[in-house]
Symmetry: C2
Subunit: 365 residues, 2 copies
């Protein structure tokens, strides 16, 4: 079956490109002597997680417990839940999960550490914990240095918890800068904060096994930094328009797109495709002009979208598309786009090789 | 079971408010002598569609064939597919569907009309067709007046098609204006375009049974306009932050929200909840400050979100939230938010009365 024979809209993964992306990142990390623990939020597909592990990843990263459960059910044995897991219901699920897989979890507050400790220790069980450090994103995490040391000491003292190290997500890199060329110094600052914090803790007698960072746009630069033990990039499996706009990779390296059909051409400078925010998401980015990158139609711009309609501006190429034409569109933010789909169609040279259910889609609890 | 006993994030429908919204719109239309055919894209739940029909709707509106199939399977017999359905695969599905339900479909080009005609007439079957008129949104549809007349004449001549009338979606009302107070004249212009086009067609001997419009923000004003036979509002079943911001209803009328838990309070002016763009969508609107309306926390602002994190700005109410607190958030655009959920929990006075699978979620083909 060829991609051209499938009805649209359809979410497509190019296997050659996916494999190249997965291998290249694994090689990069191997050469830098850094452990790779990819965030699977990008694809949400166990088959791709297994591909990443086969190429040398030491385990995977997820945000939600529900994602961890899906991945563990698919035979993945080493999972980092990089999220503050809160509440009795979730702690009990986490405890059950940790019997089936090697699980580590995030902590960024004393109250969370105490809750986790109580949930595990009352059963005589333990869980590995990494303390989240905020290196500039301003979301979760504690400040580097003394505050992280204080929380780590607390974790060390609590029964049921094994302190394993520290981690951060340097997501502010792509938010605060215009291109990957500009971020070298910012990436070095992130590394310095993590390294400095780990050194402070070691001087205080705390064993810091893991110093973990993670974001695709900074992954390559981060490989040049000492003292980082692990990276957790996610988007690199597919890449997306945001990464292209930031200069991380050229557009032809993107392994994911959505194939749509032109269903209306109400004017010579406008074409409407059969996919909108329900297939691309509403994600916008200062790195991308419009709602995505249109492949192979010179001058066409993805101007706006509603749920089911994508409106292409053809004013630079009037009449370039006709009703029935197929258009391949790279979304702005692939992680959000994939989360809308029940399945992805994996092709090689346009021929369908696999259909992957997006098993971790919508696992928000 | 009380809502407070459910783990978060959870998507909640308030039954008292939903019923009030559904009844009020039905009453409004009945009093205006207009048929109500709600767009079910807002809820995607057959049980709510049946509620709308019980209160007097003549049928439902959907965008995608997949949504129509779900609704027909749930016993709904009168469905308008308000979308340009293109291609042999979809025409065959549409033909099968039209044997099980009373189906009407949209046409906005000659080439689409010809394709539909061929697909139905070669089996000696027919389908009801409405011509889409663009009254200002600039998406699909043909201009009012002569161009609509020409396409209607074409549809009338083609075998397999029954011309039933014209329809528009006046979605530019909320896009182009600041508040519902400002739109009176714009709504009148939409009505005049539709009325004038219908009159032109009738003078030319074409029977125009349906003159259909549809958008929640203009629904009430449109009731004062002559010559409109049908309205197709959608969002009114729940309403959302965009409708509140536009002044369509006060915030307490919104029947849908997402309950989240505070999982991190890294600073006294910041709280992070366990829901982000994977539960709210990335939708933004000039009518809403931030990513949604936070209920019951004076001064809290939903500043930004990533997939799993919602960041609340508490600078106007430092320390107002603690880890473990529950927060109820009305999304910017409810139709996109609902499309992310596998099920909605319906409550009355906080007690769970039903759990509804979102059966038409993700039906993009």
């Amino acid at each position: 079956m060829h991609l051209d024979d499938l009805d649209t809209p359809v979410a497509v993964v190019d296997l050659d490109k996916l494999e190249l992306n997965v291998r290249e990142m694994a090689l990069l990390m191997r050469e830098a002597g850094v452990r790779l623990r990819p965030h699977v939020k990008t694809h949400k597909v166990p088959a791709i997680a297994h591909m990443q592990l086969r190429e040398g990843a030491v385990g995977i990263t997820v945000a939600k417990l529900g994602e961890a459960e899906v991945m563990a059910s698919a035979g993945i044995e080493d999972i980092f839940v990089a999220y503050p897991i809160w509440g009795e219901a979730k702690w009990e699920r986490l405890r059950m999960l940790s019997r089936r897989a090697r699980v580590r979890v995030s902590v960024d507050s004393e109250v969370l550490a105490e809750g986790l400790s109580e949930a595990f220790s009352r059963h005589g069980e333990r869980i590995d914990v990494l303390v989240k450090v905020d290196t500039g994103l301003g979301r979760t995490g504690v400040p580097p240095g003394e505050p992280t040391l204080r929380l780590a000491r607390k974790v060390e003292k609590l029964s049921g918890l094994n302190f394993k190290g520290i981690f951060t997500h340097e997501g502010h890199i792509i938010r605060d800068f215009g291109s990957v060329e500009e971020v070298g110094e910012a990436v070095r600052q992130v590394a310095e904060k993590m390294r400095g914090t780990a050194e402070l803790m070691r001087r205080e007698g705390i064993e810091v096994e893991e110093v973990s960072v993670g974001a695709t746009p900074s992954a390559r630069i981060m490989c040049g930094e000492e003292g980082i033990t692990e990276q957790r990039p996610g988007t690199y499996a597919f890449y997306d328009a945001m990464n292209v706009g930031f200069g991380v990779v050229p557009e032809e390296r993107v392994a994911f797109w959505i194939t749509c059909t032109v269903v209306s051409t109400p004017a010579s400078d406008r074409a409407v495709i059969d996919g909108g925010t329900k297939v691309f998401s509403s994600a916008r980015s200062s790195k991308v002009d419009g709602m995505g990158l249109i492949r192979g139609v010179e001058g066409a711009r993805f101007a706006w979208a509603n749920e089911e309609h994508g409106v292409l501006d053809l004013s630079s190429c009037p009449g370039a598309l006709r009703i029935g034409d197929r258009v391949h569109v790279v979304p702005v933010h692939v992680c959000e786009a994939v989360n809308l789909w029940d399945e992805l169609v994996a092709v090689r040279n346009g021929e369908v090789e696999a259909v992957w259910p997006v098993l971790a889609r919508g696992k928000v609890r």
